[in-house]
């Protein structure tokens, strides 16, 4: 759990501060140039004023106390800070054989080598959202804010009010992006920061995209990241999306990912949380067309005072589609976990197949898990099921290994590793799978720290290195 001291504010005080900030500094927010963005901000602002900030009295935040998130000493900067840096000088990718388009966001701002927005030969655009607002206003107008539930959740509207930069990807129709795109989100600051990156990803008809998204913090300083991602899959599109989170104990990360699927599209979404202070991942899937497939997988390995909250919502608004949720977690020490999954099958969405599975292992009496696999079904010709289990490592399997001379520690690790591998196995990029496998193994041995960056190798054990380069 992130440090809670006198700087904590009550949600209503934080809300007041945010409203005042927008009213006073509205003009200074970068990316304000076009009317479209300005209008969107105003709409979001009106919603934000109406909506309540999360609190423990809200059903969706009952088991995750958001109050430590709201502080009065956050640095919120409105200066355009997108950086011209050669990222490869700071990091080298540790995934061998994985050739990626690697982009980096430092404190929510896009860091680039040559240009903030690159257009590939096949028409794919990858780059900074801030820049895209300027260059591609028509695309932005059409998609930005079209999937995120601005009117329903205050943190989403807040992100929209203050959004500045983030990742923008546009894959045109019939284009298959062969190389995976890797995004590295780095938080690096010596003061408490409040960041609100915004990502927009559009996959055109018959397109294909693989996206690897990594969240890291380089310091143990207090940070609150409120990320909103909007992902649109057009007809027959295919997106393979991976999220790897390895954050410091004082970091709070609230990521909200909104997916909209059109006819025949396929989505693979994998969320791996290895370390973090307070992490909340919201996956909101909206199936709008027939014959869609969605795999929503998650793995969380928590210890110490870490808290993880996975909130997964699959909204079937069209018939003949299939969604499958598999979330598995191991909780050690005083760690606490929440899984709230929901499948909604709307009236008329016949022949839907929706499955939901959450499995947990508690290793100590101090660890806690709350799991709520919900089904809400309004169509009769469906196959839906859910399951949730909470338990321990199988004592028989343990005994089997012990009787063959394997020490208890190793046997435990083997069993945990086997438990986690069901999710890891679903990763379809081989080099990434191998790497995550290694990471999970390392994590279960208790050898993975946040300096030990997952996909990337921090070239120095001294995290301040990055800061030096930026200076």
């Amino acid at each position: 759990m992130i440090a809670n001291n006198n700087s904590s504010l009550k949600p209503h005080a934080f809300k007041k501060a945010m409203i005042a900030l927008f009213e006073n500094k509205h003009d200074q927010i970068p990316g304000n140039s076009s009317d479209i963005i300005d209008k969107l901000r105003q709409i979001a602002f009106e919603h934000f004023k109406q909506l309540e900030l999360p609190s423990k009295t809200m059903e969706s935040w009952r088991f995750t106390n958001p109050e430590p998130l709201f502080r009065d000493d956050y640095i919120i900067d409105f200066e355009s800070k997108f950086q011209k840096i050669d990222v490869s000088k700071i990091f080298t990718c540790d995934v061998y054989d994985l050739d990626t388009y690697c982009v980096t966001l430092i404190n929510g701002w896009f860091a680039y080598k040559n240009s903030p927005l690159s257009c590939l030969k096949d028409g794919t655009i990858i780059g900074s959202l801030y820049k895209a607002m300027e260059i591609y206003p028509d695309i932005i107008e059409k998609y930005l804010g079209s999937v995120a539930k601005i009117s329903e959740q205050s943190l989403i509207s807040l992100n929209t009010v203050f959004m500045q930069d983030g990742l923008f990807i546009y894959v045109p129709d019939n284009v298959k992006v062969e190389k995976p795109v890797q995004v590295i989100n780095i938080v690096d600051s010596d003061k408490p920061v409040f960041l609100q990156p915004r990502n927009l990803i559009i996959a055109g008809k018959n397109s294909k995209l693989t996206l690897v998204h990594c969240d890291h913090s380089l310091t143990h300083n207090i940070s609150f990241t409120n990320t909103v991602s909007e992902v649109i899959l057009h007809k027959n599109a295919f997106i393979d999306h991976y999220k790897v989170q390895n954050k410091g104990r004082n970091s709070a990360l609230v990521t909200s990912m909104f997916f909209r699927q059109e006819q025949n599209s396929t989505l693979n979404n994998n969320v791996m949380t290895l370390n973090g202070g307070l992490t909340r991942n919201q996956v909101d899937l909206s199936i709008k067309g027939e014959n869609c497939t969605a795999e929503l997988n998650g793995l969380y390995l928590m210890d110490k005072y870490q808290h993880i909250d996975n909130s997964v919502f699959a909204d079937h608004a069209a018939p003949n589609s299939r969604s499958n949720q598999l979330y598995k977690g191991i909780l050690d020490d005083q760690a606490s976990g929440v899984f709230s999954g929901k499948v909604l099958v709307r009236r008329g969405s016949q022949n839907t197949m929706a499955f939901q599975n959450n499995k947990n292992i508690l290793l100590t009496d101090e660890a806690k898990i709350n799991t709520q696999p919900f089904l809400e079904i309004y169509a009769d010709d469906v196959k839906c099921s859910h399951g949730a289990t909470v338990g321990q490592l199988d004592p028989n399997a343990m005994f089997y290994m012990r009787s063959r001379g394997i020490c208890e520690r190793t046997a435990r690790q083997l069993l945990m590793y086997a438990f986690a591998s069901e999710v890891v196995k679903k990763i379809s990029i081989e080099p990434l799978k191998d790497n995550i496998n290694k990471l999970v193994e390392k994590r279960l041995k208790g050898e993975l720290s946040i300096c030990d960056q997952c996909i990337l190798n921090c070239s120095s054990k001294e995290p301040r290195f990055v800061q030096n380069i930026l200076d």
């Binding site: 009236r347 508690l362 806690k368 696999p373 839906c384 399951g387 289990t389 338990g391």
Partner: protein
């Protein structure tokens, strides 16, 4: 085939409520509205001991500060609590020794309901404490039970004869502060049943109460308290039907069960109140708080319910497994049709070591109805080696109905195991085809399949109830599959 099915659905949805009749018996009613005066009126009318006035008033004052809960998956027009009569009792309170003295009209009512009040029903081995409106009329077998030291009486009688026992246990499981409807019940409850099984006694017969709402515009607020002493056993049955009425009737009951060391309590309900017509007009609003506590080690409480009636069902029979090695069970079949809404389930709160709980819930929704399972399984840090298994299945009949599952699982220790599984589907085409192919017609085939689907739960009911429940299911679901 589609056409044929539609006809069957029509037939079913037009089925009139079989038990809709109204007996004209003069009632002694309180004036409309709810205030401290109403509470005092009820207290005075029932000649209760002084501590009850204190209890009722505390509950009423607390209720005034509370808000009606909105979290359940149900929709209804706001209830005007001032537009209701809170007390109605049959005018003459008869003290009969045998049935001949009972108002024949009343007997007729019971006969229509099939309550085994008459001599031949003795063979069925049931003692009936029939609650008509709010006051107990007659109690059979009382003497026989008294020989064993078992107290089975109406709540008012218990307050007169055993005030110290009631005082000790009332609100010890469901405090008046528990929730909005429990507070309301605590303030205005009119009557109910009281059961006390002394230490070491196994109750030789099934105890049964029939409830029936009768006078128009009267909420019925009963309260049941079952106390099972050490090493005792009791099986308790509760069932009800209500006459057809166009205004919604509010029903907010409280049931409390206390099981001491090694005691076993089996509580079974068949609920078949008027669900309203097919447009959703009328019907009973059923907001019930039921909770049991396995206080001593090795105690066991088991809830079995068949819910087919009421416009709205809001009911979560719960268990607190406080002692070590305690066992809790919940078996439920909930059927909704037309505009009915049910939000029902259970809570299993494990506090003792090695406590075990099982939840089997079968939901069946037809017509425009919504049927939700909502449950909590909580294992505290102290409840080492606890075990839970939950299974919640839903069956959907027709494409306008909804079936929902809202389980909450909360585990706080490393040695407990909780498992939950649920499925939602429609009646298997293969099974239907198989039956049709063998010359079984559609209606019977559906009856067969649904009864098979609910068998796990129906099997848990005492014999007398199982028959009624099976008939109810068949009647409710004839031809309702498309």
């Amino acid at each position: 085939m589609q056409n044929n099915n539609n006809k069957l659905i029509d037939k079913f949805t037009r089925d009139e409520y079989k038990y809709g009749f109204y007996t004209d018996i003069q009632t002694d009613t309180a004036s409309k509205g709810l205030s401290e005066d109403t509470v005092r009126f009820i207290w005075a009318k029932k000649k209760e001991p002084d501590f009850m006035l204190d209890f009722r008033l505390k509950a009423f004052r607390h209720w005034q500060k509370m808000k009606e809960p909105t979290w359940a998956h149900i929709k209804y027009n706001p209830i005007d609590y001032q537009d209701m009569i809170y007390y109605a009792a049959p005018r003459k309170k008869p003290q009969y020794e045998n049935l001949d003295q009972v108002d024949p009209e009343l007997l007729e009512t019971f006969n229509k309901l099939g309550i085994p009040l008459e001599e031949q029903k003795q063979l069925a081995g049931i003692a009936v404490d029939a609650v008509m409106d709010s006051v107990s009329i007659t109690t059979t077998y009382k003497k026989k039970l008294a020989e064993k030291g078992i107290i089975f009486s109406s709540f008012s009688e218990a307050l007169q004869n055993h005030p110290e026992l009631v005082r000790e246990h009332i609100a010890s499981v469901v405090p008046y502060t528990d929730n909005f409807f429990a507070a309301l019940n605590s303030a205005v409850f009119s009557d109910g049943s009281f059961v006390y099984i002394p230490k070491g006694v196994k109750c030789p017969i099934e105890l049964s109460t029939y409830f029936r709402i009768n006078a128009a515009n009267t909420g019925q607020f009963e309260r049941t308290l079952i106390v099972a002493g050490e090493d005792s056993y009791v099986s308790y049955l509760e069932g009800c039907t209500a006459p057809m009425r166009s205004e919604n009737q509010l029903h907010a009951a409280v049931v409390e069960i206390i099981a001491q060391k090694n005691a076993e309590v089996k509580y079974s309900t068949v609920q078949n109140w008027w669900p309203g017509d097919k447009k959703g007009k009328g019907g009973v609003f059923n907001f019930v708080t039921k909770r049991g506590i396995c206080k001593g080690d090795n105690a066991k409480i088991s809830w079995t319910q068949v819910e087919t009636g009421s416009a709205i069902t809001w009911k979560y029979p719960s268990l607190i497994l406080k002692g070590n090695n305690t066992t809790g069970e919940f078996f439920s079949v909930a059927v909704t049709n037309n505009m009915q809404q049910a939000d029902t389930g259970t809570k299993m709160i494990h506090l003792g070591k090695n406590s075990r709980s099982t939840i089997i819930s079968k939901g069946i929704s037809a017509g425009n109805s919504n049927n939700s399972y909502r449950g909590l399984v909580k294992m505290s840090k102290e409840a080492a080696n606890s075990r839970n298994f939950s299974q919640c299945d839903s069956l959907l009949l027709g494409n306008r109905s909804g079936a929902h599952t809202f389980p909450y699982i909360d585990v706080q220790n490393k040695s407990s195991v909780a498992e939950h599984e649920a499925t939602t589907s429609k009646i298997s085409e293969d099974q239907l085809f198989y039956c049709l192919q063998r010359g079984i017609d559609m209606e019977n085939a559906i009856g067969l399949i649904v009864n098979g689907y609910a068998k796990d739960v129906l099997n848990k009911l005492p014999m007398e109830f199982a028959v009624e429940a099976q008939n109810l299911l068949s009647v409710s679901l004839e031809g309702s599959v498309g």
